[in-house]
Amino acid sequence: MQVASSVRSIPGFSLLAILCLVILYAPLLVVMVYSFNDSLSITIWGGFSLRWYEQIFFGLEAEKFQKAAWNSITIAFMAAVVATTIAFSAAIGVVRTSPFKGKNLNISLLSLPIMVPEIVTAVATLIFFSMISFKLGYTSILVAHIVFCIPFAYLPISARMQSIEKVYEEAAMDLYANRKQIFRSILLPLMIPGIISGFLLAFIISLDDFIITSFVKGAGVETLPTAIFGSIKQGIKPDIMALSTLLLLVSTILVTISYFLSRADLKNKLN
């Protein structure tokens, strides 16, 4: 029987796939559950409570966390806007022009920030800023974030750009549309889902970064990850679990939006 011996289903693989999901989610779920634990001890379950969420918003360290959150969000927003713009512009240059020498080199350059290990980028950027005597702080974090956000914005944008056939712009050119018109009435509207998706991924990546930020932040400026890292050096406290849960939810919601955008996209293409 062909069906019975089909290599499509291998016994045990389904169990391993489920195990994989359990491994990926168990630690996150446990932290989420314990962030609602009333007990002061992080080990004993003392009933459901929102006291740790209250603490991060109104407690002793609330001001520190709010400042860090503000830095994180504003840096992530600006870095994502700039990186998405640069990536969109580069994607038009690479994807929507006729084949050219150095095309692969350009693609490699755009993915370079992912290839170089984060700690190496961190060291190199720190050395760069101190050599040019640039004061470490908010701006140096922002600049470093723009660089490593570019590939994350570029990937969904170029993928989307490749799926738009060139017949549209050829037809427009036959009808004597100029470049500005092609850009405004063809390319940009078709690219919106890709641009939003690229922006969201860049935003999350910036929001999550710890290593590079900790090297180039200087004294006094904190983002949420560096503030969390500073706190857990003295042990995992329940309020950190509440903060982590919030950050975890933000990332998950943004990824989900990005996922549904690309899915909605797929459906439109199929129809």
């Binding site: 080990t43 929507r96 984060e118």
Partner: protein, 302 residues
């Protein structure tokens, strides 16, 4: 046949201007800094963290040789840093193997589902990747620490007489790396299995090949590029990882990332040495990438 147009495309004249911002930003803020880092690795260290602009091979020399406290003893091989690098390679390799053991079956299982369900499964695997790595590692630490939920559970059922004592061991670091980069293994393998044409395996089944030999001899060779991509995506970040060894490993299980970080924190640092260690790490990564591209190129010829 489709006619071939040698027509200029609308955005051709603007290409240089479109690419320029990415060249400038990545060039100025990544390529030049890496060049500066290479330069610094050949300079002399200043005592309060910084450099003196005098050419010196001291950083690389310190990496390999021990010349005593005053630098005038006959050189003996300095094992401390070599051991840290070897440990990093071993840890990254073990993490990669474990990711493959769990990641391959997962990717294979997902790729052989109904197309409608595949994207949802892949979505589930991807979400944890986008969650802050620091938070994920802290969560893992919370789960496996001596009085954490796993140990409490095992102890209360009498399955253990004392806690596992995982924290601050090599095993905890491997677990951390495995947990951090597992999604990276699943995605490329999934992509290559999904592209595999299953009529080949059905032909093998018609010829009375059993499942395992079909998997081993027909499917496996065809998805090797995906496996190689997955391994490289896990191995490279594991090699330079900082968060997992720092939070889960403690001082005895130092890896390259922590060694580098230490050179740039506070006054005890040594910038040229940190730069040299970073250059060695970067070289190792480039070698791994080179081996990978050669392997992929060979696959395409076949």
């Amino acid at each position: 046949m489709e006619p071939v147009y040698h027509q200029k495309r609308a955005f051709d004249p603007l290409r240089t201007w479109l690419l320029l911002p990415s060249w400038v930003v990545i060039g100025v803020f990544l390529l030049i800094p890496v060049g500066l880092m290479l330069l610094i690795s050949f300079m002399t260290k200043e005592f309060r963290g910084g450099v003196i602009w005098e050419l010196s091979l001291a950083a690389y020399d310190q990496f390999l040789f021990d010349r005593g406290l005053f630098g005038d003893d006959p050189p003996t091989i300095q094992w401390t840093y070599i051991v840290i690098f070897l440990r990093s390679i071993v840890q990254a390799t073990i993490a990669t193997i474990f990711c493959l053991i769990i990641g391959f079956p997962t990717a294979y299982f997902i790729a052989t589902r109904d197309p409608k369900n595949r994207t949802f499964w892949i979505f589930l695997v991807t979400v944890p990747y986008w969650v802050n790595l620091l938070i994920r590692t802290v969560s893992l630490k919370f789960l496996i620490r001596d009085n954490g939920p796993i140990n409490e559970f095992l102890l209360s059922f009498g399955l253990l007489s004392e806690p596992l004592g995982l924290i601050n061991t090599n095993i905890a670091v491997q677990l951390g790396l495995f947990y951090s980069y597992l999604p990276f293994m699943v995605l490329p393998i999934y992509a290559s299995v999904e592209r595999f044409n299953f009529t080949y395996s059905e032909a093998a089944a018609d010829l009375y090949a059993d499942k395992w030999s079909t998997l081993r001899r027909i499917v496996f060779p065809n998805v090797v590029p995906g496996i190689a991509a997955g391994c490289i995506l896990v191995f490279i970040p594991s090699l330079g990882a900082f968060i997992a060894p720092d939070l889960l490993g403690g001082a005895k299980n130092f890896m390259i990332g922590s060694l580098i970080e230490e050179q740039f924190k506070g006054n005890a640092g040594n910038w040229p040495f940190g730069a040299a260690a970073s250059m060695i790490l970067l070289t190792m990564v480039l070698i791994a990438l080179l081996l990978y591209t050669r392997q992929q190129a060979k696959g395409e010829v076949r």
